[in-house]
Amino acid sequence: MLVPLYGFLRGDTIGMVVLVHDHQTIADVAKVLQQAASVRVKPAARARVYIGTHALDPALTVKAAGLGALDRVDVVQEH
């Protein structure tokens, strides 16, 4: 199932709507958001995904992480 998420990449100027499948991983979410914002922020090899202040396990699937349509995630690049 496709899940639209509101994603905010730290260092960017705007929130994006990213579409991910619920079987994709949290690491994929970070990649998709970074790619969507790549005209403004250079993608990094590693990035963490947060719900509020809680960092999600990159290996979890979107479904297992409990993410639903129109939830907010924040992505922070690790340099």
Binding site: Y6, R10, I14, G15, V17, A36, V39, R40, L70
Partner: protein
């Protein structure tokens, strides 16, 4: 024969007691506004201009003649060809958002002409409606000629009739403030906050920039409009004074709500023009400096005089002065095909100027422009799509503008659930406005909701064409198509490095 001052009040103070119908039936709460007060509570309503209809017609005729004279002298296409391309895009932005919003203000003023609670108020509102007709007609007349120069000027009239995201935000604001508000809220929102508080930004700031940019027509147009605004804006003060006397808390709430909504609108329209679309050599002040000089002192003084407090989010507003329009501009630049005007990319000199004017926040903004420049270096000039986003962006459920609150380090977007639906807001004040009257806002669909419910296409190109009403010759591009001397020099330097 009576002198003017002896008969004037007989003409403008014409309230009478009703004999066969109740006052509350003539002025029902739902249209006249709350708190409902008997006419006795409004009878001292007054304003300083006290214009008669004959004086109004005579003055307006002279002002129109003066605008026509300037148009005939310097309003021809060849005059505009001499202006800087960036400035012309400030003109397109301003022109599209102005005339039909002014037309909506005709409706608001006419409602007050019938349902304002004192006859002097109704008389003044009638002049206000005539003013706003004029403010609709003048920009339409002036910009119509420019469609021959550039088809994007067609959006002067087309803008409000589209579902472009800026038009959705613009309509959301003016429908609530001008078309749907009762005369009490209209007077405070439009006359006290928007016109008295903010339009100096447009009429003093932009006319001064227009003069520096050599645009005599725009300078004349906005100055002429300002003389009308200065008069009918006086409606707000006495309405607010009466409201404070009877319901101070509501008065404060209306001021707080409308200051924030007005601020977001001006930050986009005027912030873009002052800090990005005016050529560097013509800039006299930054947007932030201008707001401090021309808005804050006067607005805070007005609040003090009325015994009102600064809006509860005052510190957030001061912080936003440093960042909000920069966040929206950088975002919109990378989605420029979604609007009807072109964007200038700030080069090294502009970025140095912005760094000096915004020392607190520019260090976070500069990497964004460095990245955009890097993308232009990769593609070379003319390849718009390499510096353009394709993924849908997010919108605020109150202001309908993009979620660009805060800074790159901390976006202030907030999520709120209401009756099973999720709503996002760009800021705490926008969330607060929504929560005060959810029934007023909850049913509205932003662009994302339109896409998710199938009312608008998700594919960007289809969205632009089918929903936003844009075609390739109309949609926004980089004003120089990436042909900047500084960028060319950077590309050469990079090539030399690679060879070495």
């Amino acid at each position: 024969m009576l002198k003017r001052d002896q008969w004037l009040d007989l003409a403008r103070k014409l309230d009478w007691e009703f004999s066969y119908v109740g006052e509350r039936d003539v002025f029902p709460d739902v249209v006249s506004g709350t708190p409902w007060l008997p006419q006795a509570a409004w009878k001292d309503w007054d304003e300083p201009y006290k214009t008669t209809y004959a004086e109004y017609v005579s003055t307006q005729h002279a002002k129109d003649a003066s605008v026509y004279a300037v148009r005939d002298a310097v309003g021809r296409i060849e005059d505009y060809r001499k202006l800087d391309a960036s400035w012309l895009n400030a003109l397109k932005l301003h022109s599209a958002t102005l005339p039909l919003a002014e037309f909506a203000a005709v409706v608001g003023n006419l409602r007050a002409t019938r349902f304002g609670r004192d006859s002097a108020w109704r008389t003044m509102a009638n002049f206000g409606a005539l003013d706003e007709f004029r403010h609709t007609q003048i920009p339409l007349m002036v910009m119509h000629e420019l469609v021959k120069l550039d088809p994007q000027f067609d959006w002067t009239h087309k803008f409000f009739h589209t579902n472009d995201w800026v038009a959705i935000a613009g309509r959301h604001l003016v429908d609530e403030m001008l078309t749907a508000s009762n005369p009490i809220e209209f007077a405070i929102a439009t006359h006290f906050v928007f016109e008295t508080g903010f339009t100096n930004l447009q009429f003093v700031g932009l006319s001064s920039l227009a003069q520096a940019a050599g645009d005599r027509m725009f300078e004349k147009m906005v100055k002429s409009i300002q003389t009308d605004e200065a008069r009918h804006a006086q409606i707000g003060h006495p309405v607010l004074l009466t409201l404070i006397k009877h319901d101070r808390e509501y008065a404060q709430r209306l001021v707080d709500k409308w200051f924030w909504r007005s601020w977001l609108f001006f930050a986009v329209v005027t912030g873009f023009a002052m800090d990005y679309l005016t050529p560097l050599e013509h800039r006299r002040q930054s947007f932030k400096e201008f707001v401090h000089e021309w808005i804050l002192d006067q607005f805070q003084r007005s609040l003090d005089e009325m015994g009102l407090k600064r809006p509860w989010y005052w510190q957030q507003f001061l912080d936003a002065l440093d960042s909000y329009h920069h966040m929206v501009y950088a975002s919109a630049y990378t989605y420029r095909a979604t609007v009807w005007f072109d964007f200038a990319m700030p080069g090294p000199e502009e970025r140095a100027w912005l760094a000096q004017k915004y020392p607190k926040t520019w260090p976070q903004m500069d990497p964004i422009w460095e990245r955009v420049a890097e993308r232009w270096r990769e593609s070379g000039p003319g390849v718009e799509w390499h510096t353009h986003g394709a993924t849908p962006v997010t919108f605020c459920s109150t202001c309908q503008l993009v979620l660009c609150g805060g800074t790159p380090a901390h976006n202030t977007a907030r999520l709120h659930a209401h009756e099973g639906r999720k709503y996002f807001f760009c800021s705490e004040p926008c969330e607060w406005i929504f929560k005060q009257e959810p029934e007023r806002y909850a049913a509205h669909k932003d662009v994302v909701m339109r896409i998710l419910t199938g009312e608008a296409p998700a594919n960007l190109l289809e969205l632009l064409r089918k929903s936003f009403g844009l075609t390739q010759d109309m949609w926004g591009k980089d004003v120089a198509r990436g042909n900047y001397r500084w960028l060319e020099a950077q590309i050469e330097r990079h090539k030399e490095k690679e060879v070495a």
